[in-house]
């Protein structure tokens, strides 16, 4: 299972490394979303206060695109069917796709955080670094797991572009809430202190635990035709 996962993840990242779709299309998209948020929210104080939430919202929007992309490369040549016919462990496919997605998300989140520092004057400080990094890790895992799960479901069916956001966004709501609050605590947004953030990290941990088990079990029946 883990060997399959490693191979699938390496394959996805190699495809990304060669095609540069994420770096050339998804990252610029996330950046323009961050700029647009500032237009909509208008004033410097408001933007500063909501910066962590905007980072995670932009991440969610980009997640939708990343997931579409991750499964477009599978369905294009009927790769999923081929893997199934070859008897590849679905749990391995699931974890591998999730791993590759997590790697791409992590890069994206770091870029968005830097953007938040530059555009929204978010302040990183030493005391919050541990919380910030753990939050990034946990949220990335959670988003990658559910993204892969629902992406696999929507892959290869008509109307998947419209179906995926409808299915995925309600599910990732706890991640949005948890990660935003934890990031606020880590950055000290509007007087939040670092210790406020840990309960939220617990929420993210529960989310990751539940969906790593649930996803591994459910992915097989979902992609079986």
């Amino acid at each position: 299972m883990f060997r399959v996962a490693r191979l699938i993840a390496a394959k996805d990242l190699r495809i990304e490394f060669r095609s540069r779709v994420v770096t050339n299309q998804v990252l610029p998209f996330a950046m323009i979303v961050m700029v647009m948020f500032a237009f909509a929210l208008n004033t410097q104080e408001v933007v500063e206060r909501v910066a962590p939430g905007l980072v995670w919202l932009a991440t969610l929007f980009s997640l939708l695109i990343l997931v579409q992309r991750a499964f477009a490369i599978e369905t294009a040549d009927g790769a999923t069917e081929a893997m199934r016919a070859a008897g590849v462990d679905p749990a391995g496919i699931f974890l591998g796709k999730a791993l590759a997605l997590a790697a791409q998300l992590a890069v994206l989140e770091i870029v968005l955080l830097v953007l938040a520092v530059v555009l929204y004057s978010a302040k990183l400080h030493v005391g919050g670094v541990v919380l910030l990094v753990t939050t990034l890790l946990a949220a990335t895992c959670g988003l990658a797991l559910v993204g892969t799960l629902y992406g696999g479901l929507a892959a290869g069916v008509r109307g998947r572009e419209t179906l995926l956001p409808l299915l995925l966004l309600p599910v990732v709501a706890p991640v949005l809430i948890g990660a935003t609050r934890a990031t606020e605590a880590a950055l000290g947004t509007s007087g939040a202190v670092v210790s406020d953030g840990w309960p939220w990290l617990g929420l993210l941990g529960v989310f990751v635990a539940l969906f790593s088990v649930g996803g591994t079990l459910a992915f097989g029946p979902l992609i079986e035709e």
Binding site: L153, L163, I177, E225
Partner: protein, 267 residues
């Protein structure tokens, strides 16, 4: 299966009806059976009672005034919606479990989710109106209210998954997995919204549990629960049978097309 062929009005238990409907040979023209007719009459009577008690016999509330009567719809529909989603989850489980698997479970899950979404829409609508009268706002970011909205959207998504196409078995497995994932998701959403409200500001919802209810109000609420539950069962049974007929029709269409191709080959 000629012994199980049905025409409208013949007595049969619901399960046998549904099973025979899914056979392409079954001749059917209606979804009513004596049981559903009696159930339908009971539903109409209890609805009439609900109107009588809810609108006329029960007193107006000391604090809320006449607007309390909205709750006789709100409470009944939200109860049914939660029951409906529970039925969907259990039927999905029964479909996935190899020893009980049957497309009937899949159709019950689908029918129940459809009715659940309908009732949840009514709940949200009635709740928003009541909220405007009682709190001055259509919407408050209370954990229960927010979770209800998430349930609504989640099951709309579930119904969209059911409509994806493919074979009946494929639809059944896919939607059953999604229904079970929803069971995983909803408590998490509820918990996180609760945590969110809890740490940030007090819930702006008045604590209604401490309010003492007038006996007639309680009785009206009770009738509301019964009336809407009966309506739910009636709707799900009929809808389930319609779905079975749809499936049978699709199978029949496929058989017909195959026959056509074969006869072409024969010529």
């Amino acid at each position: 299966m000629t012994d199980m062929q049905l025409t409208a009005g013949q007595p049969a238990n619901a399960n046998a009806t549904a099973e025979s409907f899914s056979k392409p040979t079954a001749k059917t023209s209606a979804t009513g059976t004596p049981f559903t007719r009696i159930l339908g009459i009971a539903t109409v009577v209890s609805m009439a009672l609900l109107v009588l008690f809810g609108l006329f016999l029960s007193p107006e509330d000391v604090v809320q005034g006449e607007s309390v009567r909205i709750l006789y719809i709100h409470v009944g529909t939200v109860w049914v919606a939660y029951v409906a989603f529970g039925v969907t989850a259990l039927s999905s489980l029964a479909f996935l479990w190899k020893r009980t698997t049957s497309l009937t479970w899949d159709r019950i899950a689908g029918a129940s989710a459809e009715v659940g979404v309908l009732f949840m829409a009514l709940t949200l609508f009635a709740g928003a109106i009541w909220g405007r009268l009682a709190w001055g706002k259509f919407w408050v970011w209370d954990a229960r209210v927010t979770t209800t909205a998430f349930l609504f959207i989640t099951y709309i998504g579930y119904l969209a998954v059911r409509g994806l196409g493919g074979s009946h078995q494929q639809r059944g497995r896919r939607s059953a997995v999604v229904a079970l994932l929803a069971v995983l998701e909803i408590p998490l959403v509820h918990f996180s919204v609760k945590l969110w409200r809890g740490l940030h500001q007090d819930s702006s919802v008045a604590d209604t549990t401490k309010v003492k209810l007038h006996d007639l109000m309680l009785f009206s609420l009770f009738i509301s629960l019964i009336a809407f539950t009966l309506l739910f069962v009636w709707l799900v049974m009929h809808r389930q049978r319609v779905l079975a007929m749809q499936d049978a029709l699709e199978d029949k269409g496929l058989d017909y097309a195959l026959e056509q191709r074969r006869s072409e080959g024969g010529l």
